[in-house]
Symmetry: D3
Subunit: 135 residues, 6 copies
Amino acid sequence: MATVAPPQDPGTNPRVKAVFDDIRATRGSDFINNVWRYLAFDAGLLETTWAEVKAVMATPSALEPKVKEMLYAAVSIANACDYCTHSHLAAARAKGMTGVEQADFFRVVASAGKTNHLLNALRVPVDDAFLIDKE
Amino acid sequence: MATVAPPQDPGTNPRVKAVFDDIRATRGSDFINNVWRYLAFDAGLLETTWAEVKAVMATPSALEPKVKEMLYAAVSIANACDYCTHSHLAAARAKGMTGVEQADFFRVVASAGKTNHLLNALRVPVDDAFLIDKE
Amino acid sequence: MATVAPPQDPGTNPRVKAVFDDIRATRGSDFINNVWRYLAFDAGLLETTWAEVKAVMATPSALEPKVKEMLYAAVSIANACDYCTHSHLAAARAKGMTGVEQADFFRVVASAGKTNHLLNALRVPVDDAFLIDKE
Amino acid sequence: MATVAPPQDPGTNPRVKAVFDDIRATRGSDFINNVWRYLAFDAGLLETTWAEVKAVMATPSALEPKVKEMLYAAVSIANACDYCTHSHLAAARAKGMTGVEQADFFRVVASAGKTNHLLNALRVPVDDAFLIDKE
Amino acid sequence: MATVAPPQDPGTNPRVKAVFDDIRATRGSDFINNVWRYLAFDAGLLETTWAEVKAVMATPSALEPKVKEMLYAAVSIANACDYCTHSHLAAARAKGMTGVEQADFFRVVASAGKTNHLLNALRVPVDDAFLIDKE
Amino acid sequence: MATVAPPQDPGTNPRVKAVFDDIRATRGSDFINNVWRYLAFDAGLLETTWAEVKAVMATPSALEPKVKEMLYAAVSIANACDYCTHSHLAAARAKGMTGVEQADFFRVVASAGKTNHLLNALRVPVDDAFLIDKE
């Protein structure tokens, strides 16, 4: 059902194999999820996509991993991305999001969707007080 | 520049005044930002919108206030809501988001926007491992 | 295939049962559609979501029920929400939308999608004549 | 501030003049709003766009003109189209939308935005009862 | 699974038959894909939709057919339109898009999705140098 | 009007200066547009964003530069990104897009917006003939 065909034997391409090995090592799991199996149709696209996701999501940074997965899922929900919503909510759960937090997350995302539509309808001017750069 | 006109003397409508008083008391500030001043064109819409935003965003819950503002801003960015993006990033800063965290937030939101487009292009099937409800 | 699991015996939770009973009474039907069965994973989220949908959609107001369902469906189509598009078009039909009206509805929604893209490309300034609030 | 320049003397191009004359005759007003003045940069695009908008929005059909403008505005809000939101809400008011109806319209659009996000997060299967075509 | 039912014997409606015949003649193929089979529920909507797609996509113009299909697919991906993404990527391949070009296409669309989110977050003013119409 | 403040003397940060120098060298122009001036608030985000845009957009690849800018602009229009639409249409013009091609581009993008909404409303099943990966 995809728009590209995943290679049947991805391990035979050394560039693909190197990315898959790094995904397994980074996550401490043998499981390779579909996005990487299909992206293997183009080794360059697979390499740059994984490098970015690893740098942004699997490398310690200012925000905690669970929060980053929830932010990722929030954007994915607003963009109606089916795969991304499933995969990043699963990742948020794997990184500690509880059921109560998930319900709270849904509440915030749904309310944001509501007021986004309300403000895009009202077309209210932004308050000066919110601006950092007044130039 | 809005699609409704804000009332000139909102304080003369007791329902509007009650909401404005509650906004000031909840936030400990006299400042009423534009969304509430314009929503005052319809007292009922002002009341239900503020009641929801207060319940979801200004009431202690499972997620910390700073994280909730960042989630709200993430959805607003994906929905291209100008006012909401400015107001909720300002709120996140007011609730403790540092400059380093804001840069990290931008990195996550931007990468999510990228892979959302990539996955909406690839149309890859969702892995069974991500599903909670397999029915 | 959802991101939460619906409770197996929702009737055993009195808060869930109360909402389900009110849905049945409001609609005069025993049928509970999936959104409510899944939202039952969190009684609070179920209660506030149903309270809002009931107040906005199942309570007499300025616009007729059929028109409100079509407006709801129009937003859902623009947001690529699969479930919402199906459920609110079904509701519009149940509230009297004819086949000829549905074709007219599709024509308007499709033309709006077209000129939305054209105007977001042209980036034309809004005419003063359209503004209510000139401040 | 646009991405094309409107012709300085649009009346000198007979194809543009014919469209402008038809806009004025159809609306019974001398006013030509900006979208048409800018689209005049390409006579063919102006002609086909006006022909479609006239056929869909200015020709009697199954739905009443006021409802069609509200549907148009609903899609425009969801797509964050600034110009379209202003122009079609102005048109809806010109065709009889009252202030109370506008507030009701905002309520429906905002609730749809909310549940669209909730359902895009929950990813609930569509009920068989909603499907017309079960194939 | 659609929101309308396709007619069982579309050939018995002469207006539908005329459109189907023209689709087959234009494409040099007997295959009628689902969008046209379902749109046949309303002959008028079928006629105007096909007339537009034929004029824009199947008629020689300034841009080459392959590029037009890729542009169409790019918009469809950003709008999360499942059917459109599949059909226009298939059309782009049929009109000569190679596998290497498809990977390059994915790279551009994904990067655009990324910086769209970044700029919608930064809310940076547009440079004067980019404006054609400075009025 | 932005959500971050651009550094007053970006040249004093050697990492920022290196990126600005590379932008100037790559483009053969002294002009630094606003997105880079504002992104300089975080040197790391500036570096990775420029590295990606340079690799994808300013490096020879399967698609010609003009087409890549039009694809970028198409996604930006669908995402309602004001800055991106202006900057990438300007870039497409700088790389050879003629006025006639721009009008053709608008025609394709607008028609895609239309049928995206129509198909997201119809919810028609994808034809088997379009699928590459039938698993």
